[in-house]
Amino acid sequence: MVLPETKEQFNLSRQCKRYGLSLWQCPQFLFLFMGIIIICSILITYFIGRNYLGDPELVALVVLFTTAILFIVATIIVQSFERLAEISRMKSEFVSVVSHQLRSPLSNLRWAIEFLMSGRADAITEKQLEYFKILMENSDRMRELVADLLNVSRLEQGIMPFKKEEVSLAEIVGQVVKEADIFAKASNVVIDFEDENSLPRISTDPVQLKLAVSNLLDNAIRYTKREGRVKINLAEKGKILFCEVSDSGVGIPKDDQKYIFQKFFRSSNILKQQTEGSGLGLYIAKSIIEKLGGKINFKSQEGVGSTFWLTLPIG
């Protein structure tokens, strides 16, 4: 496994192609080029210095010349990095603009479907209702995806609003559980959560924290096939609060575990089962929790279940 990855790392032309850059704009190649020049220049200076010791001016000239070349290469490298950063910024901005633009037609669509479904326009048949439900479910999926994309783009651009206030973690988790109730019942999943009133209040952003916890709970319910149980535990451990969501779901295959917090990553076993999802939920949860000064992690076994936990600093 290690060998192909290492080989891939050394395949510079392919890596540069991935960034859409030519060799002379590609930082990886330029670093290698600069390294070779440094080694060569040291060797040349050494030989010149040894053979023409009587002419220190020549040695100084060679050193000056090679330094100038290195300086030019370093400038090009910095420019390439700037270009990469600019491309990344433009990509985030593009996602944000597109998502915003998608929202208006989506609202129009959702409300028009809701109007038809309510029977206000005209009486509807059972069969029509079935199809309206399909339209509604899919426009809701699009709405969720757009919301996820907007959140990712805000997090990446650093413009996600974070507003801290004194809150109770138990209360926030309680709200998330309540909101997930319909989805859990529809999925035959029982949520096991006991309100821990004894925990200290913390200074954090309730809106963002709610989003992170709800992404964890949503996954736990979504990936529990057949009947199951999701357990939420809260605890205080030293200077941190701890929230753990464990499920008896499909679990994450061992090979997929290291990628699980990556954007758009979806593990192989859930792709087979065609479960809906954008692959953005855990990425968003991790970004938020880290911004709030906490950590997020998990353990999982395929076919047995997963346990995700997050920590938040007290005070």
């Binding site: 929202r103 208006s104 609202s107 409300w111 809701e114 109007f115 206000r120 907007l150 609003p161 507003k163």
Partner: protein, 122 residues
């Protein structure tokens, strides 16, 4: 006499849906497709409630709101902001300018918006 609602919104699809919905609920709805027409109709027709989008042609929602709230004829008309701009700063700005409530389109169903409208009328 039925209550009159002025809907300032440039999406004609929404004008249609809300027009049908509000009419069925016994309200009279007047449409304005841009900010300037909205301001004029607010003054001429003296509606009981204004639903206001923020991104509008000719005069944007904030300008419209500011003018509504500084004009003696219209300053007492409740205004519900109905937009897809989610930025927390916009919410604060709109409420400060005198909006009754701020609703993000993507987060509400028609039925919920109808509830909010009824709540304004008490």
């Amino acid at each position: 006499m039925s209550k009159v609602i002025l809907f300032i919104e440039d999406e004609s699809a929404l004008q249609k849906t809300f027009g049908d919905l509000l009419q069925q609920e016994g309200y009279e709805m007047i449409s304005a497709l841009d900010g300037e027409i909205g301001l004029r109709l607010a003054e001429d027709k003296n509606p009981d409630l204004i639903l206001l989008d923020l991104i509008l042609p000719k005069a944007n929602g904030f300008d419209v709101l500011k003018k509504l709230k500084t004009n003696a004829k219209t300053q007492n008309i409740p205004v519900i902001i109905l937009t897809n701009l989610e930025d927390i700063n916009n919410v604060g700005k709109a409420l400060e300018l005198g909006a009754t409530t701020y609703l993000v389109k993507a987060q509400y169903t028609l039925a919920e918006i109808l509830e909010k409208i009824k709540k304004v009328f008490g």
